[in-house]
């Protein structure tokens, strides 16, 4: 086992990792920017090293300073957390060349899963369903028609070089096709300087359902019951839960096994998450694999009793899985709300500032992971997430009511937060019925509010 782990991250996830290390008897090194000198992860770690100025590019993304910090403190492993360098294959490679264990999968696995086109091909080969579509660029209506014969309407025309909704057209039938391709090409050219487009099956009102996997060096892989992360705003998850109201025991098994195949296909080691889009007919499609610990991992911890960060460290150290698939049971329901310092009344603009009052909810079935406290100043340099609050209940109803109770006693003064927005979600009738799709926030909350 490792003797000393350097945590190349900040905020609540740095704290989370330090907590796991403490429980495992592993010493910890916090790294921090000048701005974060007073941060809790610095205070709680055994040692700390300042690695740069406030800007992430000069500190939390500064590979030479982080590696050097590990060297001068004698850390034998680096935990990257999420974000920052966690999915940077070059960083994993540098760690390896410096004989410091990178707590995550191999650089090859990161690379393969990081390249969307390559990942898609590998998944297809491994028998993991992918969204049907063109293998490359579509230039003519004829090519498109040929493809659509296979994938069926509706389809989506997407800019090869783009993102953010630009150069994107949903097509429901043949009449609209030609115009859609031309418009998309024009938009793509204007927006990205590249008129190339490709076509994919359009998954209507999908759910975002993901499977946490754990894999060891021997190649054994197990999955944990799904997390439903459909409640998103502009591709940012806001609220996650486990299990999903939609997934049957049979579908869980099928998707879980597909997730294990995905991991095996890239010789994955440690913990990771395979994300799927699921349509109303229970068709599921590989979206991507996150080759790191995720923000929402505690949701699975609450319903399975597994400490994922401890397992991640164990697996990275070369230990084998201590349990097999049949040992993993799901019990009860867990919900997580991400509390961001944002003004949800004003288009979620970040709301940095000093926390003047901070009261953490307590009592049964409540878990809070946070790095802020009374007197802490939220700076504009980093992510706006300031706390994760989780509730557990016997069933979804209890977990939901408990979350409402806990949020109602969560006091964060000095900045605006997304607490009121979460209360609105939890009170929504569609949410209560479990009718959650990736368009939930837009359709059920924002448009509803606009109507009023």
């Amino acid at each position: 086992m490792f003797k000393k782990i350097l945590i190349a991250n900040r905020g609540e996830i740095a704290l989370r990792i330090i907590r796991a290390c403490k429980e495992m008897g592993i010493r910890t090194v916090a790294v921090h920017s000048e701005e974060d000198r007073e941060s809790l992860h610095v205070e709680v770690a055994d040692e700390s090293v300042c690695i740069g100025p406030a800007q992430s590019s000069e500190s939390y993304l500064n590979i030479p300073n982080i590696i050097s910090a590990a060297e001068i403190t004698g850390a034998d492993a680096i935990h990257p957390g999420y974000g920052f360098l966690s999915e940077n294959s070059y960083f994993a490679e540098v760690c390896e060349s410096c004989n410091i264990k990178f707590i995550g999968p191999s650089k090859e696995a990161i690379l393969k899963m990081g390249d969307k086109v390559q990942a898609r091909a590998i998944m297809d080969k491994a028998g993991v369903p992918i969204i049907p579509g063109s293998e490359g660029v579509i230039s003519t209506v004829e090519e498109a028609l040929k493809l659509i014969k296979k994938v069926k309407y509706p389809v989506i025309v997407k800019a090869a070089g783009g993102g953010g909704g630009k150069g994107m057209r949903i097509v429901q039938n043949e009449e609209a096709l030609k115009n859609a391709i031309l418009t998309a090409q024009n938009e793509a050219k204007r927006a990205f300087g590249n008129p190339e487009v490709y076509i994919e099956k359009y998954v209507e009102e999908p759910r975002h359902i993901e499977f946490q996997i754990m894999a060891d060096v021997k190649g054994d892989v197990v999955y944990l019951p799904e997390r439903d992360c459909s409640i998103q705003r502009r591709y940012q998850k806001l609220l996650e839960e486990s299990p999903s109201t939609f997934v049957s025991e049979k579908l869980r098994k099928k998707m879980g096994k597909a997730a294990c195949r995905a991991a095996k296909a890239v010789k994955y080691v440690t913990v990771g998450t395979v994300e799927f889009l699921v349509d109303k007919q229970s068709h599921y499609y590989f979206m991507e694999m996150n080759t790191r610990i995720q923000v929402e991992h505690p949701v699975s911890e609450l319903v399975t009793g597994i400490d994922l960060v401890k397992e991640q460290i164990r697996l990275a150290a070369g230990e084998c899985l201590a349990i097999d698939q049949s040992d993993i049971e799901i019990k009860g329901q867990a919900i997580e709300c991400r509390i961001n310092a944002e003004d949800s009344e004003k288009d979620f603009i970040p709301s940095p500032g000093k926390i003047t009052r901070f009261l953490v909810p307590g009592g049964p079935g409540v878990r809070v992971d946070t790095h802020i406290y009374t007197g802490y100043t939220i700076t504009p340099y980093y992510d706006s997430m300031v706390a994760k609050i989780l509730t557990y209940g016997h069933d979804r109803n209890e977990a939901t009511i408990r979350m409402q109770r806990a949020l109602s006693e969560f006091v964060i003064e000095g900045v605006k937060t997304t607490i009121p927005f979460h209360l609105r979600i939890l009170d929504n009738q569609h949410f209560k019925k479990g009718e959650v799709y990736t368009n939930f926030i837009q359709k059920r909350i924002i448009e509803e509010v606009a109507k009023q």
Binding site: V49, C50, G52, P53, N65, I66, S68, A69, E71, I72
Partner: protein, 155 residues
């Protein structure tokens, strides 16, 4: 409130034993505090041997910070990287500089080893080395002061 008003304030409190003064009007705030040693719980980190005046808020919502460094002829050279500090190219070599050495801007005055690579520490100013703040072979973190430099009187 203009700077001349601030000056007036300063004159007013100069000969009193008032150590702190706060004034707020129409969204403007002004605060003074004299540095008298015995004053505790100052929420600001004070520069060594420096007297600071902060005037926050000038009507347009932005804050303005004016730092008047009384002893501004001292300068700290800080580490811009994380690593191991060496004052000499090798264990048996003479040091690049010593306390008392006069240096030029751009002069190599130490090295820091990081990831097996030696990187030069170069002075960003001319002056005289008053104090070497890190021991040879010890670790430095980002932003850590490593040399105190007495600036040349005329610069």
């Amino acid at each position: 409130m203009e700077t001349k008003d601030i000056k007036k304030f300063l004159e007013m409190i100069e000969d009193t034993d008032i150590v702190e003064l706060n004034w707020e009007k129409d969204g403007q705030k002004i605060g003074f505090r004299k540095n008298e040693g015995a004053v505790k719980n100052a929420p600001q980190e004070e520069l060594p041997a420096a007297k600071m005046i902060k005037a926050n808020g000038n009507g347009n919502g932005k804050s303005q910070v004016a730092q008047v460094e009384v002893s501004q002829n001292y300068h700290l050279i800080k580490s811009t990287m994380v690593g191991t500090f060496y004052i000499a190219p090798a264990a048996d070599s003479p040091p690049y500089v010593q306390e008392g050495t006069k240096i030029k801007k751009g002069q190599k005055i130490a090295v820091i080893e990081a990831m097996k690579i030696m990187k030069d520490v170069v002075s960003d100013t001319a002056g005289q080395i008053i104090k070497i703040l890190v021991e040879n072979g010890h670790h430095v973190e980002y932003g850590q002061p490593i040399f105190t430099i007495q600036l040349n009187p005329v610069e």
